[in-house]
């Protein structure tokens, strides 16, 4: 069974997206990077990100990641902010009682996007 299926697929993403997005918006370290865009569009982006991190179907390329975050890198997005997002992701999954071994796999997938997100 794939990681995405083990976590619970689309239903798990739906359960996680509000919890995750609320955590990010309340996190003073990073919430400035998540404002300014309409909430529905922002929530849809978080959903796409979680689907990808859960090992689900996605068509994101490294180039998409670079283009999509370039304006945030210009505003100072760095490794500390990336770490904070991954931390919120882990806390979200813990809250949903996802086993630690699966959370580690999700964090590992998120990690593969670090250099593209940060434009390195």
């Amino acid at each position: 069974m794939s990681l995405y299926e083990q976590i619970g697929g689309d239903a798990a993403v739906n359960a996680a997206v509000d919890i995750f997005y609320r955590k990010v918006l309340k996190d003073a370290r990073i919430n400035r990077f998540f404002g300014g865009v309409d909430m529905d569009r922002q929530a849809a982006k978080q959903k796409a990100f979680l689907t990808m991190a859960f090992g689900g179907p996605n068509n994101y390329s490294g180039l998409d990641m670079r283009r999509g975050h370039a304006h945030l890198v210009a505003q100072g997005l760095d490794d500390s902010h990336f770490d904070a997002v991954v931390e919120n992701l882990g806390a979200t999954l813990k809250e949903l009682h996802v086993p630690d071994a699966l959370i580690a796999q999700v964090a590992a997938i998120a990690e593969t996007t670090r250099n593209d997100v940060l434009g390195k």
Binding site: D10, A44, K47, N58
Partner: protein, 329 residues
């Protein structure tokens, strides 16, 4: 093999093929992005139904009720008739039944369409001044309660369409409108769920419709309506709304004065301040926001942070008075 009808032509859909793949293969340009059922860029509408459940997974209940589906996730098992969201709206003629001032800036325009309009209170129609100029206005009327459409038009300084409505349009005139659209309306099924409605100015129009629709359909949970205005003269339909609080104990009407001294019967502050003062936790609430774009965007965020699920927060994505291109006000 199922056939997909789009703009009057039927297309053969291969086994296991999605609506998006099928139409794209026939050279039809359907907007899409993730092609994984996530981004909703490829949203289409099947007015006659017949869409498999998986194609509507994750969509808001209001979209499902109108037959919207994700073309990339729709593998049809029967013949389907589909349209792009914009093309689903057709123009029709309507007669102006009356124009009634509601407050110094806003008039209620009642319209009788040439054919019955299939709509829900809180959706919007497009009103055409001429071929080039039109604006969107939310419907305050409820189809089960009234046989005419009612919109509330605020005089926007320099506004091409609103000035025409306020100064030139008369009862008996014939106008063109486009079919109803929008996701901001009441869906029955959870009669105990608490409802929060925040509106400023003529943003009351859809909420006035949604409140009466919900109560008419037997909604039993709390229904809290906050209407904001910077001046006492800005409140309208207040007598009707107070009368509703008498007949429906679960309904609460809170007029909020955002500026100046506060006379008796009015709350001081913005609608958002008042709502958050009355209730700190909006988990499991259904929320509707209409009116000033800053109130709507701030309200969505603050009520979400106060616990409301994002799928339960409804607002039409227009910017009244700021963007003259598309503005239900």
């Amino acid at each position: 093999m199922p056939r997909i009808t789009y703009e009057g032509t039927a297309y053969e859909c291969g086994a296991g093929e999605t609506v998006l793949d099928c139409l794209t293969a026939w050279g039809i340009d359907i907007p899409s992005s993730c092609r994984s059922g996530v981004c909703q860029s490829c949203l289409m509408r099947a007015p006659g139904g017949g869409v498999p459940q998986a194609a509507q997974a994750g969509l808001k209940p209001t979209l499902v009720a109108q037959g919207y589906f994700k073309a990339c996730s729709c593998t049809p098992t029967e013949d389907l008739s589909v349209a792009l969201p914009d093309a689903a709206g057709l123009r029709l003629a309507a007669e102006v039944v009356s124009i009634e001032p509601l407050n110094p800036d806003i008039v209620a325009v009642r319209l009788r369409p040439a054919r019955p309009l299939d709509y829900r209170a809180g959706q919007f129609i497009r009103l055409f001044r001429d071929a080039q100029q039109s604006r969107c206005y939310s419907l305050a009327s409820v189809p089960q309660l009234e046989d005419v459409l009612e919109i509330h038009v605020r005089q926007v300084p320099g506004g091409q369409v609103s000035s025409w409505v306020h100064q030139e349009l008369r009862a008996g005139d014939s106008v063109q409108i486009a079919d109803s659209a929008g996701q901001c309306f009441y869906v029955p099924g959870q009669p105990e769920q608490p409802l929060l409605l925040l509106g400023t100015g003529s943003g009351l129009a859809p909420l006035y419709g949604i409140v009466r629709d919900a109560l008419h359909q037997g909604h039993r949970g709390p229904v809290w309506l906050y209407h904001g205005s910077p001046t006492p003269a800005g409140f309208y339909r207040a007598a009707e709304l107070r009368a509703l609080t008498q007949t429906h104990p679960n309904f609460r009407y809170v007029p909020c004065l955002s500026e100046g001294d506060t006379p008796a019967g009015l709350r001081r502050g913005t609608v958002l301040e008042a709502a958050l003062a009355d209730q700190t936790d909006f988990t499991s609430w259904r929320v509707f926001l209409c009116g000033h774009p800053d109130m709507v965007s701030q309200g969505k965020l603050q009520i979400f942070l106060a616990g409301a699920a994002s799928a339960e927060i409804h607002a039409d994505p227009f910017l009244p008075s700021v963007s003259p291109a598309a503005a239900p006000a």
